[in-house]
Amino acid sequence: MAFLAPFAFIALAAIAIPIFIHLIQRERKRVVAFPSLMFVRRIPYQSVRRRRIRHWALLAVRAAAIALIVAAFARPFFRQSAAAAAAIGGSREVVVLLDQSASMGYGDHWRKAQDAAKQAIRSLGTDDRATLVLFSRNAEENMRATSDKSRLEAAVNAAKVGSGATRYGPALKLAASILARSQAKRREAVLISDFQRTGWSGSEDARFPDGMTLTTASVASPPVTNISVPSVTFSRASFSGQERVTVTAGVANKSEQPAADVPVTLEIDGHELQTERVTVGANASGSVSFTPFTLAEANVKGRVRAGSDLLPADNSFYFVLAPSAPVSILVIETGSNPSSSLYLSKALSIGTTPSFHVEVVAANRVTPASFDNKSVVILNDAPLPSAAGGGVLKQFIERGGGLLVVLGDHSAWPAADADVLPGRLAAVVDPTNGRGDAIGFIDYSHPVFEVFKAPRSGDFSSAHIFRYRAIEPTPDARVLARFDDGGVTGVERRLGQGRVVVWTSTMDDSWSDLALKPVFLPLVHQMVRYLARYEQPASWQTVGQVVDLAGVSRTRGDRVIVSPSGQRTPVKAGAAIVELNEQGTYEVRAAAGAAATARPEAIAVNLDAAESDLTPLDTRELVAAVTGHATPSGNDIAAPVEVTREESEKRQALWWYLLLAGMLLLAAETVVANRLSAREKFL
């Protein structure tokens, strides 16, 4: 038996009150005037009788009532083991939510978190059940509800820090659903984490109904220094027919202390190429550029390491590099005017990401083989070559090729292949206002024009269009731009996997001066990239991303995916979706055959940059948002699961019974005292 407020026992002195009243106060209560006390004084006065307590039982009842009431205010409770305490309140259903995100690898956070989880498990009573949920970006039941503490502890011991980002929402939702299924009287979730602020946006729809409690156990400690490499950029340049890549790494310091002389190392294919040193201020970031290196083949694995601290995971940044593949373009012209494709070919020779490989052919020299290995065909003011007719061009487009038709004086289109175009060609329009027409409407939502959407990102209105070829768009065509007079400037349609764009004015200086305007170069690049369906290959992915191998791998057939930890996962030819859960470089190998020995394709996976931000969240905010009650959570690890004195006292609620007993005794005392006082004048 212990007491929460032992100082209340000072009030036990109140027991003396009835005795005091009885012995002293009562005698002075009434004064009777009497003529003379000469006889009374002669009688040897003995106050013994007065002081003698006649109604011991009554006094005992009064004292007991006071003692009980005082004891109630002292808030007594029985010291019990956690299991016994749990038995009083009924069985418990506990969900232990253990954060295994990458940030838990900081210092001894993971060990503390494991200890906290084990402590929560040990507090279980015989009838209690617990579920172990490991979570990072997602949450999963690692151990289903069980009373077997040894199994739960083994599961905790077996758990490891992952590479995922911290997200509390899915874990809390899972806990709520597990607890909702339980029939236990007391349902609790114990959230053990470093409580990164980035893991809780406040808009998660995780809400515990009444009757469920959320206890938090924070393992966060103020980080001294945390260096991370959040990103890497590449600058490519061609030199002597080879591609040279300059790697620039960003280094962030998410702490209150500046980091001086942080070594930053670039590794390519496991070899250290270069180490630079950088000083980064508190809560600031810097960058390091390495010497360019020649990129000769695809799937070159790279890594940038920066310094060393208590959270090593975010000190490395992985990437995969491949030489940039040029976009191959076939420009078909009439051949009569040698400068008709000058502007186009000059514009396309400038690009680096991607670079463009342009082949200019006269229309009459085009063969069906000319379309091989071409991504885009540009019919620049030329009639449809005969070699392209009869469905050849159409097939090229339907396989994924792109066609840009630039209309001009020489454009002619046979009716047989008219279904390739996004409209029916009409007569040449010659705007008569003398200064030509201007492009008045542009569909900025289209990928071609999206880059011009922002203000001062390209002025199309300065271009003068003196002539254009009218076209009546088909219903499935999409108009990209129009002239001031409503005529169509550009129109697009999709055909199979490919795309067809018709530009109704020339791309030289004969019908317009657009080729002389600054917007010409980006416009041509955008159109070609769009038609070639060019996407810059991602040098890295983020942990948790799901990738379609079809998009990143050229290997067909059965494959084996080797994770950074060496785990091999066979993937059938059809199933191409892979979830990237580990930090490092995944390798995609062919399952069998000669290709299995070739250099494997690689996918670099990096941590979510938010994991480097260890700023802790106020756990009360989280608890209040989830439970609706601002229950303070113990910051120490033991507090949430151990039965505290206050909790024991609250559960047992002995004070209530004591108070009731005291009140009943007082009521009984009133009845008895009234009866006695009816018999005697004075008690």
Partner: protein, 303 residues
């Protein structure tokens, strides 16, 4: 039911009497009622009533010689008459603070004593006695000398009397003894809260001139039976001293002591031939009147 001294004589309860504001009216009502119940008139008549003859001795006034008897017997006899019935009646009233006591809504001892005094004064006046009064506590408070015309003053004095100071018998009574130059009847009304010997020592001087003394000891019923229930602090009305008392524990002892006190006084007074009557304020006044009349009768026989 209070006892009455004489069968058939009905007396009004003192509580009822206390409502009569006029002491004279009260006295007349009581006395007339009392006398009507007697079979014999108590009044002692003319002062010239013949009593007896005695032989002449030298020095007797020759005017008192009964010459007719001399003619028949040839001896000188002197006529003797009944004593002088016009006597001085002095009421000695204790008005100390203890006399203010009354229990259970009854009349105070002072009031009761006043009723007694008024009745006696009325009775005395009716038989042509001279009436005076002395009130005292620790000293003499008022003094009305006995006179045939002082009846009203006596009543007035009684009316005004208030018990305000503590009392003492020795001092005022010794002073009084010096006042009484002429033999008379002294009626002392007090509660005698002093030792019997001290009381007697105080009273003795009054007897020196041959005064007749009637002593009324006025007590409340509560003083006799100590009928209190609650344990309380009892305050001495004279000294103000408070004593915690549990009545039930000392009631028996108290009763014994008060009875012993009364018995001691009775013995002492009778030894000195002093009439002593205990008056209970809850009883009618007849006992006091009867006691007075019997004393007065004795006085008459004194030659």
């Amino acid at each position: 039911m209070p006892q009455t001294a004489l069968p058939g004589a009905r007396f009004v309860d003192p509580k009822v009497l206390s409502r009569i504001g006029n002491l004279e009216l009260l006295a007349r009502s009581v006395v007339e009622g009392f006398i009507n119940g007697l079979h014999r008139a108590p009044y002692f008549g003319a002062s010239i009533d013949f009593a007896e003859h005695r032989g002449y001795v030298a020095g007797d006034d020759i005017r008192r010689v009964d010459w007719r008897l001399y003619a028949r017997t040839d001896r000188y006899y002197v006529k003797q008459y009944e004593a002088d019935t016009n006597t001085n009646v002095s009421i000695l009233m204790d008005i100390s603070r203890s006399m203010q006591f009354a229990s259970r809504g009854g009349v105070t001892k002072l009031e009761y004593g006043s009723f007694v005094a008024a009745c006696l004064a009325y009775l005395a006046q009716r038989q042509r006695d001279r009436v005076g009064i002395l009130t005292f506590d620790s000293d003499i408070v008022t003094h009305v000398p006995p006179s045939a015309k002082h009846f009203d003053m006596v009543l007035h004095t009684l009316d005004r009397a208030k018990g305000e100071r503590p009392g003492n018998l020795a001092v005022p009574l010794s002073k009084m003894a010096e006042h009484f130059k002429r033999r008379g009847l002294l009626v002392l009304i007090s509660d005698f809260y002093e030792e019997p010997d001290a009381v007697l020592d105080a009273i003795k001087p009054l007897r020196f001139l041959g005064n007749d003394l009637i002593v009324f000891h006025v007590l409340d019923q509560a003083e006799l039976d100590f009928g209190y229930d609650d344990a309380s602090s009892f305050e001495d009305m004279e000294s103000g001293e408070q004593v915690p008392v549990v009545p039930e524990s000392l009631r028996a002892q108290y009763r014994q002591m008060i009875q012993d006190h009364i018995a001691a006084l009775t013995t002492k007074f009778s030894e000195h031939r002093i009439d002593y009557t205990v008056l209970n304020t809850s009883e009618p006044l007849d006992r006091s009147l009867f006691s007075y009349l019997s004393s007065r009768q004795k006085l008459m026989r004194v030659r």
